[in-house]
């Protein structure tokens, strides 16, 4: 560069365009903050007088090569976009914890207390029919599984609770589940039933606990 040129440049400093590195910063900031792609003309209208936005764009584009973000041209305008290979990062996995439905909890409780329990037994105890979905959900959660078929007419399938059920509820085995008496003393059963209904249930429980449940833990 000639000496005269340099002098001229120095004289013009006040009115000179910012250095290219600075222009690149400007383009970078504007592209980043803009809500839509921006044309070179618009970039230059925003930048100080004398800037070469096209040149700054070329440099910026080069700088972002191979990075997580790219400078892309859309029609005659420019924008910044995340690298296409990282698109999979643009999804957010949210795990929502939801309480089990009342029907599912009751069904699960019946299986836990009466296992092995057939669907008919569950329905008899709940007093309503058990939807396919409820059983499927519990199976899917791996809190119940199929037990042995019952040796009664029709050989119905039975359900039993799984080790992961025990794990979730912090039980060593299903026999650790509090009995009706304990439920009552914990205030969970408030009304004293007519003598018949109550003791029948308890007897059944007791019987189940010795026969049904020990069966489960034998195999």
């Amino acid at each position: 560069m000639a000496v005269s040129d340099e002098t001229e440049q120095q004289e013009e400093t006040l009115f000179e365009a910012p250095v290219m590195a600075e222009q690149e910063r400007m383009v970078e900031a504007v592209l980043f903050a803009s809500t839509e792609p921006i044309t070179v003309r618009e970039l230059e209208s925003r930048m100080p007088h004398g800037c070469d936005a096209a040149e700054a764009l070329v440099r910026l584009r080069k700088r972002y090569e191979g990075r997580g973000v790219r400078v892309v041209k859309i029609d005659d305008a420019w924008a910044m976009r995340t690298a296409p290979d990282l698109g999979y990062l643009m999804q957010k996995e949210t795990v929502e914890t939801r309480k089990l439905s009342r029907a599912a909890i009751e069904t699960l409780a019946i299986i836990a207390y009466h296992q092995p329990a057939t669907r008919a037994e569950i329905e008899e105890i709940r007093g309503v029919s058990v939807s396919r979905g409820t059983i499927d959900q519990l199976l899917e959660m791996e809190w119940i599984r199929f037990g042995r078929r019952k040796m009664t007419p029709g050989r119905p399938v039975t359900f039993v609770v799984t080790p992961s059920f025990l794990d979730h509820f912090g039980l060593e085995n299903a026999r650790d589940l509090p009995g009706l008496k304990e439920l009552r003393s914990a205030g969970l059963l408030e009304n004293r039933p007519p003598p018949g209904a109550f003791s029948v249930a308890e007897e059944e429980d007791e019987e189940e606990a010795t026969t049904g449940q020990s069966e489960l833990f034998e195999d």
Binding site: S34, T35, F169, L188
Partner: protein, 260 residues
């Protein structure tokens, strides 16, 4: 008080001026503390070195002037005036050894602290607002990319839920109409009918348990109900004079026989 009068005279010109200046924008003040802070600036010293006594006089002059001009001052300005008048007298009079309350100096120091703290907060607020700010000096990404939400639901329940669920089913059972459970209940009427039929054959003493209806002896629930009904029916029959009843000792078997 003579000294008080004297200093009051001495300050009066600047006080009046300050008071006039304040009155101009009395509506612009955010309460008496703000007015005091403004007045304290006329002393042109560091807030830490402020003369609270002078400040009290300035404020009282401001309130006097407002009264002369028949300006409505809010009640809290007048409360502050009363308090400053009290403070002023405390600062001027020698301390009363019998008085247990805080000294004038302590009260003055606290007021100075309040003013300094308010000023400090105003300065801090100004500095805060002067910072580079989002959306004005620096910017967030203009064109956000849509983040797809992949929602997975995890179901959970506690042991308490489980127990309550089970208890709920059981409790629901207990609310069934009583008649539903009658297949396990042997009524006294049934027992009476039965006993009337059988009693003719009871010539010898026989244990009451042998009168229990068939099918009610094994199941403890049914047995309990049948036993109670049969016993009640027996007593009824004794009362009617058809039956005799005896028990040799406590908890011994109860025996029946036809009354001859």
């Amino acid at each position: 008080m003579a000294e008080d009068e004297f200093t009051e005279e001495k300050l009066s010109v600047s006080d009046r001026l300050a008071a006039e200046a304040l009155i101009v924008d009395v509506d612009g003040f955010e309460g008496p503390l703000d007015a005091l802070l403004m007045l304290s600036r006329t002393q042109k010293v560091d807030l830490r070195k402020i003369s609270v006594l002078d400040l009290a006089r300035q404020y009282l002059a401001f309130v006097d002037r407002a009264k002369q001009l028949r300006l409505e001052l809010a009640a809290d300005y007048l409360v502050m005036a009363a308090w400053l008048a009290f403070l002023k007298s405390r600062l001027l009079l020698p301390p009363d050894p019998a008085d247990e309350g805080p000294s004038g100096e302590e009260l003055a120091a606290h007021l100075a602290f309040q003013l300094e703290r308010l000023q400090a907060m105003r300065d801090a607020a100004a500095r805060l607002m002067a910072r580079d700010r989002l959306g004005r000096d620096f910017f967030a990404r203009g064109q956000t990319e849509v983040v797809a939400r992949v929602r997975s639901v995890k179901y959970t329940a506690t042991l308490l839920d489980l127990m309550q669920g089970y208890a709920r089913i059981r409790t629901r059972d207990e609310f069934r109409p009583f008649v539903m459970d009658r297949n396990n209940v042997f009524t006294m009427e049934q027992a009476l009918d039965r006993m009337r039929g059988l009693i003719g054959y009871a010539a010898d003493w026989t244990e009451i348990s042998s009168y229990l209806p068939e099918g009610w002896e094994m199941d403890p629930v049914r047995r309990r109900s049948a036993t109670a009904a049969t016993f009640a029916a027996s007593l009824e029959l004794v009362k009617e004079g058809h039956l005799e009843i005896r028990q040799s000792e406590v908890f011994a078997p109860i025996e029946l026989r036809k009354r001859t």
